[in-house]
Assembly symmetry: C2
Homo-oligomer: 307 residues x 2
């Protein structure tokens, strides 16, 4: 029986303009490294945090509360110590809490001999998301655990649809180094939306999903719209309109807020386009002197992996 495991828990982009709270995709290269050891001391605790700072108190740590939820469904006389090399900045909008929550439950599930399927781990990982954002949601967790593009049809009961991943799709992500907590960018949203805008969103999401199935990049481009959330949330992100226009002008298929921001994502056809788009997206922050990270990534079709 293995007693420790190291995994890579990738970053992810949720919402993807047309799919608020339901659509997401998984990134390559960017992600947390999580090392979990099974030992004889019961309980779940943090052994070590490197990189970006996150709480070490298990009650405040998304990875610990997620693992604790798993252990309530599958009891073990063993305990688990978690070390995280936190490479995704919390509050950056690319699924920092999802990577830690999903990664930790994935690792513990491996150490326990895999009692749960990947999709079944979502219920536990969502407890981590609820701690981070105040709400249960799986739009980052699903692509992290299952890879590729995913659609959350329902979280209660959990029902995830794995979507096809067009081969030439490349993501460009810019992360301005300001922190925007999901809990705050959720607070800006109204409880109600106009039925007219909901209908527009239905049309765009439906078209985008069909386009993923048919590799129709033009239709993807026409569908990557968000009239529901972006107009109110984008005001929290410096230079959003300018960056979006820059990306579209350089040929991006679409561009919008990544998750709850402040990261901005674009999707492009091919690596060359994605790089040009990245240069355009960085320009406004360069001028402004605002620090940023820029990621250019293919879509990660596998999700979490054991190292």
């Amino acid at each position: 029986m293995i007693s420790e495991v190291k995994i890579f828990a990738p970053a992810s982009v949720a919402n993807v303009s047309c799919g608020f709270d339901v659509l997401g995709f998984c990134l390559d290269h960017v992600g947390d490294l999580i090392h979990v050891k099974m030992n004889e001391k019961p309980g779940v605790y943090i052994e070590n945090i490197k990189g970006y700072d996150v709480p070490k108190n298990p009650l405040d740590n998304v990875a610990c509360v997620a693992v604790d939820a798993l252990l309530k469904s599958y009891s073990s006389k063993n305990g688990f110590s978690i070390s995280i090399e936190k490479k995704i900045k919390p509050g950056s909008g690319i699924g920092s809490s999802a990577a830690s929550s999903a990664g930790a439950v994935y690792a513990v599930n491996e150490l326990l001999g895999r009692p749960f399927k990947r999709e079944e781990l979502l219920d536990f990982a969502m407890v981590g998301e609820a701690l981070a954002s105040g709400e249960y949601h799986a739009d980052n967790l699903a692509p992290v655990l299952l890879g590729g593009f995913t659609l959350v049809r329902s979280i209660n009961p959990i029902d995830i649809v794995s979507l096809p991943c067009p081969p030439e799709l490349i993501a460009t992500i810019i992360h301005p180094k300001i922190e925007l907590k999901t809990i705050h960018s959720r607070a800006i949203l109204k409880d109600d939306v106009s039925l007219k805008k909901a209908v527009l969103q239905l049309g765009n999401l439906g078209a985008f999903i069909s386009a993923l199935h048919t590799n129709d990049y033009d239709l993807m481009s026409r569908s990557l719209k968000d009239e529901l959330i972006e107009p109110s949330r984008s005001i929290l992100i410096p230079k959003f309109d300018e960056i979006k226009n820059g990306a579209i002008n350089q040929g991006a298929l679409g561009c919008g807020i990544s998750g709850s921001g402040p990261s901005i994502f674009a999707l492009s056809k091919g690596m060359l386009n994605a790089k040009k788009v990245g240069i355009a997206m960085a320009e406004p922050y360069k001028k402004l002197g605002l620090e940023y990270d820029l990621h250019i990534s293919s879509i990660n079709k596998k999700g979490i992996k054991i190292l």
Copy 2:
């Protein structure tokens, strides 16, 4: 040059539970017969109406106003006389006005030597729909003109996605013989909906569209839900809950309001199931002594056809 044409303009089911105002599919067998003659007397007029009664005054007739819209984009020195054998009852919820509007513009386009593609005819046919319901919408028109399942991504500009049609899908439609005008069943809807319910609808629509692409009947079944519109509209339809429960208990994949009602549709896997579902759906109206029509139909993949 041909100077007259006869066409079959099929009935259709819009909304399909999870796709309010965007999703629709086309029926076989049920539909209007439209006969259009091109002649030297300018203008558009009704020569004859058989079957269900509709206005003969061109200004009040959806077919005439739709053709008139077409002729504003493609002028002709000729005129057109329209005869309709109206087999779809107006206000029944299976696209009566859509069949007449789309059918008439389709026929006139043929007589003019086909200056417009099928999809381009939607803009003209929508003028007929606006007369009937007070709003421009294409969720019935698109399946009538293009066949199969369609998604209306946008009506301005018009952007329709033709969706795949799983081979074993069969529709059962029950039409209680009460009239419910679209304009009235629209009036019951609120301008705003809760963001939570909109998100549920996004999840269901996205999953249903993915399921059409993958022939996943179980996922279709889980996705044929409507928390947005059905709860308020279904109170206008006698025995709705009982009929829906009957359909589901007999194995229907899903059941909901057809368009704006009062017709109720169910989708089943295979003809045998669809027939059993039909018997169950008719039961409450039989007991009540309420007259009804029952249609059992495969999905019409071609849409309008020339006879």
